[in-house]
Amino acid sequence: MVAVHKSRKDMPLTPLSSPTLGSMGKTGYWRTFRPEVDYSKCTRCTLCWIYCPDAAIERREDDSPKIDYDYCKGCGICANECPVKAITMHREEE
């Protein structure tokens, strides 16, 4: 897959940028509301996966969503689009 540089020092001096996970850091810190999945309701339709602007939802073996809270910004699109309301948003603890 893509090379991931651990630090600036690993990079040659160049006008090229390298593909990096978390180019803006752990964007999960931006989150105000946290999506939570009720797996007993989920029908494995994968709509939440395809609509996530942050690629922060992965598909588990059975196609149910696995949310990566390190990067999920808490936009709530997944909860809004889930046809069976299996995803709900909860305010993060202070």
């Binding site: 390298s18 978390g22 803006m24 850091g25 602007p53 390190d70 910004k73 936009c75 948003m89």
Partner: protein
């Protein structure tokens, strides 16, 4: 015809990128990679995507991408296409990916030139209907009545019809799309990839930051734009106009939702009067009269 589950799980828009929460263009960008795979070279001018890429020396994009001046997307893409041909490198899709400002305003001459030269590439305008990167100034794609920082009381002019301008170049493929309809967009990209010549796809991509709505409504608003008929999903293939699902079921006015349902969810339309809304509704109905005629075998 693919289904959502069949789309590849590899991601080339990497997590932890710089887009605002709920960014519509980011959904479209993810879908682009799902449709075209990794053998693409993107050309991106100054726009929100050049921010989403992340700060040097990092990038959130997992494929080769060239950043270029605001006005030069199609010119730079033309150069890359020529270089690939010279080097006899096949199987690489060159994609110009620019915002509405970079397309319908400042980039239009480079794009028009590339189209006239029949340059073999896909050009995508992701339209968030304002200059997002610089804080939401009006563009030629901003719709009538919308607030932007340079139209504080609402824009008084209408949105440019860029897909039709591109169709007037007699290019082989023009299409509209919206990330709320992922399969439609993916199919159009896959089709465009197989056609030689200039392909133009215009995506309406809702932007919570500029359109003033809460982040979870991005996909919902894209659907409403289509269901009200304000944004129609269509293709113009070798001059032949065709409405795509679900727009093809909306020719009858009774099937379309009132535009008010779409406008009322967005803060940027807060100052619209009832007359403004009636005007917008009338324009939409007129557009659909044109779509109906075009769809019944009229060549553009």
């Amino acid at each position: 015809m693919v289904t959502i589950k069949e789309l590849p799980q590899e991601e080339y828009l990497l997590k932890g990128h710089a887009a605002c929460a709920g960014c519509g263009p980011s959904i479209a960008l993810r879908l682009l990679f799902k449709a075209l795979g990794k053998n693409v070279i993107l050309v991106v001018p100054a726009c929100c995507t050049s921010i989403i890429q992340g700060p040097y020396p990092y990038t959130s994009i997992g494929v080769p991408l060239q950043n270029i001046l605001f006005e030069s997307t199609a010119a730079a893409a033309s150069g890359i296409v020529a270089a690939l041909q010279q080097k006899k490198l096949e199987g690489v899709t060159v994609v110009g990916w620019a915002g509405d400002g970079g397309t319908v305003d400042i980039g239009i001459q480079a794009l028009s030139g590339a189209a006239e030269r029949e340059t073999d590439f896909i050009y995508i305008c992701y339209d968030n209907e304002a200059y997002g990167n610089t804080g939401m100034q009006r563009s030629g794609a901003t719709p009538y009545g919308a607030w932007t920082t340079t139209t504080p009381t609402g824009k008084r002019e209408r949105k440019k019809n860029m897909p039709f301008i591109m169709a007037a170049h007699r290019i082989p493929y023009v299409a509209t799309a919206c990330p709320s309809y992922p399969i439609d967009f993916v199919n159009k990209l896959k089709k465009a990839k197989e056609i030689r010549g200039t392909k133009y796809i215009h995506i309406l991509a809702p932007c919570p930051t500029g359109w003033r709505y809460t982040t979870e409504k991005t996909v919902e608003l894209g659907k409403l734009a289509v269901q009200t008929g304000l944004w129609a999903l269509y293709e113009i293939e070798y001059g032949k106009f065709k409405l795509n699902s679900p727009s093809d079921r909306l020719v009858d006015k009774a099937k379309r939702k009132p535009v008010k349902e779409y406008l009322a969810l967005q803060g940027r339309f807060r100052n619209l009067t009832e007359e403004d809304i009636a005007k917008i509704q009338k324009w939409v109905d007129e557009d659909w009269e044109r779509y109906r005629k075009l769809a019944s075998n009229y060549l553009l």
